[in-house]
């Protein structure tokens, strides 16, 4: 059994016409953070939805911790680009929603939710509604909800794309801290090269539609380093440069 995520020769087209993915293969190793990066329309989000079990591949195989994906599962938790919070529910209920669906009793799930709200830095906002929060805060709720179910696999779909740049940097650092104590397999979709390099152990580069894997790069900078030093580290800068030179070919 191979732990982590294994994607083998996955194809996906929409309506039999638009080919989104044409034979994608890669591994996201167990306990590591792997990023998917590529130009818009390369099928990153489609790929993530396939792994989440929300879509079915046209051909190919996806294994999560050795088991083929057949629909959504409790072993995976998703963080959405558009947050996907229930607008009529408080932060507390939103964070506990995954647990609510699992039948965890109210007292217990609220205790867990309280703890996670605190961990993502939203203490004091438990009884607020999503429309009262900024984009960054909404995504912290989305992250807390995904962490609450304690799935070994965390799938994140451009989680910071709706968040302004300063908030984004802070959020990246917080995410690193949040994940550092745990051994979770994380697959992270982004279109930001710096974000991918800063956060990832491995970066999978996709070509424009139809998406294919063009390169797989393992980062070498020391991820335990202080955030500000990482961003000035030569290994970090070299990796950013290398990816930029590959992706530049796709710009017209």
């Amino acid at each position: 059994m191979t732990a982590g995520i294994v994607v083998r020769d996955v194809h996906k087209s929409y309506g039999g016409v638009t080919e989104a993915l044409a034979g994608v293969s890669f591994d996201a190793p167990d306990g590591a953070l792997t990023s998917l990066i590529g130009p818009s329309g390369c099928g990153k989000t489609t790929l993530l939805k396939l792994i989440a079990g929300l879509l079915e591949p046209g051909a190919g195989e996806i294994l999560v911790d050795g088991r083929p994906v057949a629909g959504p599962g409790r072993d995976r938790a998703l963080v959405f680009q558009d947050f996907a919070l229930l607008p009529w529910a408080t932060v507390l209920r939103n964070v506990g929603y995954g647990l609510e669906l699992r039948g965890v009793v109210r007292g217990e799930r609220e205790a867990i939710a309280h703890r996670l709200i605190e961990r993502v830095g939203l203490a004091g906002f438990e009884y607020r509604y999503p429309h009262e929060l900024s984009g960054g805060m909404k995504q912290r709720v989305g992250l807390a909800r995904a962490l609450a179910v304690e799935a070994p696999i965390l799938l994140m779909d451009e989680p910071f794309s709706q968040v302004d740049e300063q908030t984004r940097r802070k959020f990246q650092e917080d995410l690193r801290d949040l994940l550092s104590g745990e051994r979770r397999t994380v697959l992270f979709v982004t279109h930001s090269i710096e974000e991918a390099v800063y956060l990832s152990d491995r970066i999978v580069l996709l070509s424009p539609r139809p998406g294919r894997v063009t390169d797989v790069i393992d980062t070498v900078h020391d991820r335990a380093m202080d955030p500000d030093r990482i961003r000035r580290d030569s290994a970090y800068i070299d990796t950013v440069d290398r990816i930029w030179h590959i992706l530049r070919n796709y710009l017209t």
């Binding site: 929300l54 558009d82 947050f83 229930l86 607008p87 009529w88």
Partner: protein, 254 residues
């Protein structure tokens, strides 16, 4: 809106009533008495008990018909929103009914249901059910698909998703449909009273027109408008207090 809008709404009403009063006094038409005479007639009708009796008579099919329409309409609307088969079976018919000229169709009811209470009930439902059902259906269709993806990704069942995602998300449209359905029920009841069985407020209108007591005729119409508009305003108030949708007004996607 309410703080700014209310005085202006009142002003527009006063302006129209003043114009009515002037036109009546000026003697524009024999069949248009001044508004003040209509008010006097309204008080007379209220005083001799005929108005109260007529309102009771009209409200009966409205209340019973609304209840039945809500049960049938909401069930049908949700079923159409959730199943493609029901959608295919009913949407076309309901849209036709919703746009059909009801004043032409209501008299035909008499050939099936006679001229009694059943006919009034049928007229009320003919007007209310399509509106309620179509709004419920559109409410379900307007649910943000990302929320359903989220629900599925946390391994929520379809049935659970209907209760925890679809119904709250559709509640705004559902409530609006219910309110419009009640308005339709009033129209259906008065149409039945005017066109099939002369009774209730409809009878007051028809009878007083026939004997040339136009002030009384207008008084009956005004009474009906106050009754219907008052009921709708009350429903709107309840809706504002109860609905989760109102709490996140302006935040379509959160």
């Amino acid at each position: 809106m309410t703080t700014f809008g209310l005085p202006w709404r009142a002003l527009s009403l006063v302006a129209v009533l003043a114009a009515w009063e002037a036109a009546g006094r000026f003697g524009m038409s024999l069949s248009l008495p001044p508004f003040s005479e209509v008010v006097a007639a309204l008080l007379r009708l209220a005083d001799d008990g005929s108005l109260v009796a007529a309102i009771g008579e009209t409200l009966r099919p409205v209340i019973v018909g609304t209840m039945l329409s809500l049960i049938v309409g909401v069930t049908l609307g949700l079923a159409m929103g959730l199943s493609r088969v029901t959608e295919a079976a009913f949407v076309g018919i309901l849209i036709c009914l919703d746009t059909a000229p009801m004043a032409a169709l209501v008299p035909l009811i008499a050939s099936i249901y006679g001229v009694g209470f059943a006919a009034k009930l049928a007229a009320v439902m003919l007007l209310a059910v399509p509106i309620v059902a179509l709004n419920a259906y559109r409410g379900i269709h307007a649910v943000n698909p990302i929320l359903l993806d989220m629900h599925r990704s946390f391994v929520g069942s379809r049935w659970r998703g209907i209760v925890t995602i679809m119904l709250p998300a559709a509640s705004g449209m559902l409530a609006a449909g219910i309110r419009l359905g009640v308005a339709g029920a009033f129209v259906g009841a008065i149409l039945a009273e005017l066109l099939i069985s002369t009774s209730g407020i409809g009878e007051l209108i028809v009878f007083n027109r026939a004997i040339g007591k136009y002030a009384e005729m207008y008084a009956a119409i005004v009474a009906f408008v106050i009754l219907a508009a008052g009921t709708l305003a009350l429903l709107r108030m309840i809706e504002r207090r109860m609905l989760p949708a109102e709490r996140w007004a302006g935040a379509a996607v959160a």
